[in-house]
């Protein structure tokens, strides 16, 4: 029997076919390996993004980045500047900040009643001022509305007015001292503003509130560029308090008073006009809360909660003090996983809370950097969040008291 080997052609074909199979297999395995690697990388990245998202949702509910109820060293937004009588968003309403006095339910009641719901039917809650009264240019042509509502129970209306439009017309002396029937709402507004700052007061007040009080027009935001000092003696009890109604007009996006700097609109207003162009933020105790490498001083924090930022202007003069400055102060960046393998992407989340355009916003950004390419990506979103009032009512007033159980003392009712 003749045994014959493969011919050269057969051998070549066999080798070629084998090579094809091997190459296909190798390519397939490589593709599979790459797919597995990419899928794994995506899975890790997705897991971290999801973790960041859930952390953001959790933070939206509990405000722990701003105030850790279990860590006394991370509760600096509970501070209080006794010299200036101004607090921060987590300052407890204790006997120093919100002393209780007077008759519950009456105009002379003072301090914060956490159970009170501000019903629209309660005359104490109504604004009694003149809605077209300018904070500085008023001639009181339509009368002294200070006689109806005031921060003081017995103000003295001493300022004189000139009759009519001509210089030859007679001047009228002040109205004199009166007993004002409505003092509760003005004191609630003022006390809340001083205790919590601008964001806090807008969050606590009903949506239909008219912001503005009569009395202490010489008073101003002590931390701003205004001339007044809240502890200085009043020059008169007449007119609207400047801090509520008078834009400071300091430019550069900085507004040192409660009023929105949208022109010469210096009269009492609702929340829409106040935040249409401006933003009231919650400023964290540090721009880097985890490391706390750049903590703000108490005075800086109190000042920052007593001003607004222009966020609807793009010109250069507004940019400096506007959006970039706001982002630098109000936005916290926190690593999702502080310690991680080098092969994992660096994922961080940035969070920020503020009020503008009538919307209380919890802005979140999840950012990640690819460990392979170094490319940066971002998911930016806002969330429906627990209110500041809700967050305060979650917390025990004692520094290590943790969460408050129902019926236990809270920051609103220490």
């Amino acid at each position: 029997m003749i045994r014959r080997g493969f011919t050269l052609i057969e051998a070549l074909l066999a080798v070629a076919l084998s090579m094809t199979v091997v190459l296909t297999a190798v390519a397939g395995v490589r593709l599979a390996a790459q797919s597995v690697t990419a899928a794994n990388r995506n899975a890790v990245e997705n897991g971290l993004i999801r973790a960041g998202y859930f952390m953001a949702v959790d933070e939206a509910d509990f405000w722990r980045d701003y105030d850790d109820p279990f860590d006394a060293t991370r509760q600096r937004l509970r501070g209080y500047d006794a010299a200036r009588r101004r607090g921060l968003p987590f300052t407890p309403f204790d006997a120093t900040v919100m002393p209780r006095s007077g008759t519950p339910g009456a105009e002379d009641e003072r301090g914060w009643d956490p159970e009170y719901q501000w019903p629209a039917s309660d005359a104490r809650t109504w604004f009694h001022g003149n809605l077209v009264e300018h904070a500085t240019r008023t001639q009181h042509r339509f009368g002294h509305h200070e006689i109806f509502a005031h921060v003081k129970e017995e103000p003295t209306l001493a300022r004189t007015f000139v009759d009519g439009l001509g210089a030859a017309t007679p001047a009228y002396a002040g109205y004199g001292q009166v007993r004002t029937p409505h003092t509760w709402a003005a004191n609630q507004l003022t006390a809340l503003k001083n205790a919590l700052g601008y964001y806090g007061v807008t969050e606590y007040m009903p949506a239909n509130t008219i912001y503005g009080v009569h009395g202490a027009p010489g008073a101003d935001n002590a931390y701003g560029s205004g001339p007044g000092d809240p502890l200085a003696a009043d020059d008169t009890d007449q007119g609207l308090a400047h801090e509520w109604c008078l834009p400071s007009g300091s430019g550069g996006g900085v507004q040192w008073r409660f009023a929105n700097d949208d022109g010469d609109t210096a009269w009492p207003r609702g929340i829409y006009r106040l935040v249409r162009d401006s933003t009231f933020p919650v400023i964290p105790a540090s721009a880097t809360p985890a490391a706390d490498t750049t903590p703000w001083t108490l005075q800086t924090l109190v000042a920052a909660h007593g001003r607004s930022w222009a966020t609807d202007r793009v010109a250069a003069s507004w940019q400096t003090g506007g959006i970039p400055d706001l982002l630098a102060k109000a936005q916290m960046a926190i690593a999702v996983v502080p310690l991680r393998p080098a092969s994992w992407p660096a994922v961080s989340r940035a969070t920020m809370r503020y009020l503008n355009n009538c919307r209380f916003t919890a802005l979140n950004k999840i950012r990640w950097i690819s460990p392979v390419t170094g490319a940066r990506s971002e998911l930016s979103f806002t969330l429906v969040a627990t209110s500041l009032r809700g967050a305060r009512q979650q917390r025990s007033p004692t520094p290590t008291g943790g969460w408050a159980r129902p019926g236990q003392p809270t920051l609103d009712a220490p």
Partner: protein
């Protein structure tokens, strides 16, 4: 005899093995795809939540250039902007969702041709700006890193719903006024296109305007202003100008005359303690609005005295001589103003105004108190889609039009007239009522067709946000494709202004453009101001920051009116405004071009669906 495999058999076997191995290996990328879709679902969840939140908190007070209409079949030009559909509310330059350019959207395939169907029905496919809905001026923000979420496109499916009418066109109730206050007057009455009653009284000082509230109750007119036969002037307007003790007293005299005209005696208004309730025995419902208005004017007038008369004098009492104001025989009783009575009047006016608003939500005789706006100020009115519509011609034209009849929860009493068209009566149910241009034997719809308080199944009203993932930003014309067509209602034009030029209509609206985020092209802040489609003159990656409308077309100083290319006076500006040259859609301030030619179609992968409701009753208070 045993035989080895032939070469052919070996080859076939190897081929089969290779195909099997390859097929198995090809399954691996599906894991990758699964991970990608998982990520898109996170993006979609975050975006859907944000959109619904932003929709529910959208400022209701955003300026609308005009919101009322003269005829039942007319609608205001801003109606579409103020409609409470999710996509209409949010597709604006401050609320973050933009229509995908129609040229590109039509190249996207989807399961069941759902995208094509939505586009075919006049809907839009949307994408999200790379930033969240921050409320900040986007062009003032630093550039954001690339955002994969921009690959998500989404739309709203499900029938548009007939919910409560957010703005009743013939009278955009609620009208608010401070209490106490003078008769309501405003500036729009003298602006072109708006109507005013014959012989309307102008305001003085500042912007020109008219008294309009007297179109419901003529007795308010002398309270606002009148001149007697002896030449002496009375009323609010005179005091506003004169600002003297004498003018304040004359304003009080006018307000006291109004009380007498309404049949009110000092037993009602001359009290030292505040009135807290209507006397149900002595005050039939049709008298209550008269009491509220009388206290409103008298309290305001007497408060004016306090600037010119001191506390001590007023404590002793200041006599207000009664006067027959229009010499028709109506003379009020003598009245002495005191400090205590002025304070009591103020509280009484507020008390009764609040009580009236809460007790008579469908009686529009009295404006609602601005000091304490409440949900109940907003009436429940919907269109009756099951009755014959009202028909006529559009105001001052021969164009035929129709409108559904409105159906309120309860009959509206004392509907009065509107602020913007105060010379035109609003039709009532009086069969004899004559419109002047056409007859309307029945204005209101059938009350049996009122559904706003009915229970409903989710399937009856649910709409759905549908998200897909597609790399539409890979198209070569991703940034140079024109914006999706902008609805005419997005242009803030002065209306109604018959015979005005197109340019005049576009340039006269007296509002700052940056405040009108319900209006304009939703892509406004990223629009290109010139044609950048030539790749030689404008290579991919070019810095386009100086060619973006939002970066260079905005106001430069506070108070300046941002005219120019934002308002569209010139034809070229209108082209910019319509988005003819495209937009910096990823907001990186660079000109981006993808690798996909326009002739290529892409397929969108379904990501997620979220159910939601449009607001049944928009009644946000701000």
């Amino acid at each position: 005899m045993s035989r080895a495999f032939t070469l052919f058999e070996v080859a076939i076997s190897l081929a089969l093995v290779a195909m099997g191995v390859t097929s198995v290996l090809l399954l691996f990328p599906t894991g990758l795809k699964t991970q990608q879709m998982a990520r898109y679902r996170v993006y979609a969840s975050a975006k859907a939540l944000e959109m619904v939140d932003a929709y529910n908190t959208f400022p209701t007070a955003n300026p609308s250039l005009e919101s009322e209409a003269p005829n039942p079949w007319d609608v205001s030009t801003g109606r579409g902007n103020m409609a409470f559909d999710l996509e209409r509310r949010l597709s604006s330059f401050r609320f973050g969702i933009m229509p995908v350019p129609l040229d590109i959207a039509r190249r996207i395939d989807s399961e069941g041709d759902e995208i094509a169907r939505v586009l075919g029905e006049g809907g839009r496919l949307y994408y999200s700006q790379p930033l969240a809905t921050t409320g900040f001026m986007e062009s003032g923000l630093p550039t954001a890193p690339p955002n994969e979420a921009q690959r998500l496109v989404f739309t709203v499916v499900g029938h548009a719903q007939s919910n409560a009418i957010a703005i009743f066109p013939w009278k955009a109730w609620p009208y608010y006024a401070p209490f106490p206050s003078p008769p309501a007057h405003g500036t729009h009455g003298r602006e072109p296109g708006f109507s005013e009653p014959l012989g309307a009284i102008e305001t003085v000082g500042g912007k020109r305007g008219i008294l309009f509230e007297d179109s419901f109750d003529a007795d308010m007119r002398p309270v606002f202003w009148c001149r007697r036969s002896d030449g002496a002037e009375y009323g609010y307007r005179h005091h506003q100008v004169a600002g003297t003790r004498d003018s304040a007293i004359r304003y009080c005299q006018a307000a006291l005359w109004y009380c007498a005209r309404k049949g009110l005696t000092p037993a009602f208004y001359d009290q030292a303690t505040p009135i807290t309730d209507f006397d149900p025995a002595a005050t039939p419902p049709d008298m209550r609005w008269k009491q509220v208005q009388a206290l409103r004017f008298l309290a305001h007038a007497t408060t004016c005295l306090t600037t010119y008369v001191d506390h001590a004098t007023l404590s002793a009492g200041l006599a207000i001589p009664p006067i027959d104001l229009i010499e028709d025989g109506t003379t009020p009783a003598p009245y002495t103003a005191t400090h205590d009575r002025i304070v009591a009047l103020h509280d009484s006016a507020k008390n009764l105004a609040m009580l009236f608003a809460a007790s008579h939500p469908y009686d529009w005789a009295v404006p609602r108190p601005l000091e304490r706006a409440i949900m109940m100020d907003h009436p429940l009115i919907e269109w009756d889609m099951f009755s014959d519509p009202l028909r006529g011609t559009i105001w001052k034209t021969s164009v035929s039009a129709a409108q559904w009849r409105p159906v309120p929860a309860r009959p509206i009493e004392n509907i009065g007239r509107s602020f913007q068209f105060s010379n035109l009566p609003i039709p009532s149910d009086d069969p004899a009522w004559e419109w002047g241009r056409s007859s309307l034997p029945s204005f209101w719809g059938d009350e049996a067709h009122f559904t706003l308080t009915n229970a409903f199944e989710p399937s009856e009203r649910c709409r759905q946000l549908v998200f897909w993932a597609v790399d539409w930003m890979a198209y070569e014309d991703v940034e140079t494709a024109p914006s999706a067509p902008v609805d005419a209602c997005r242009y803030p034009r002065g209306a109604p202004r018959l015979n005005a030029s197109f340019t005049a209509l576009l340039t006269s609206p007296p509002f700052f453009d940056w405040q009108q985020y319900s209006y304009r092209n939703p892509e406004k802040v990223m629009l290109f101001k010139q044609d950048l489609s030539d790749p030689v003159a404008n290579p991919t990656g070019s810095d386009v920051s100086t060619r973006i409308l939002g970066l260079s077309g905005g106001p430069t100083t506070l108070g300046s009116n941002p005219r120019g290319d934002q308002e569209g006076q010139a034809a070229d500006a209108r082209a910019v405004f319509s988005g003819l040259y495209g937009a910096d859609r990823n907001m990186n301030r660079r000109l981006d071009r993808g690798s996909l030619p326009r002739s290529t179609r892409v397929r969108a992968m379904p990501v997620a669906r979220f159910n939601f409701y449009d607001l049944r009753v928009p009644a946000a208070l701000r």
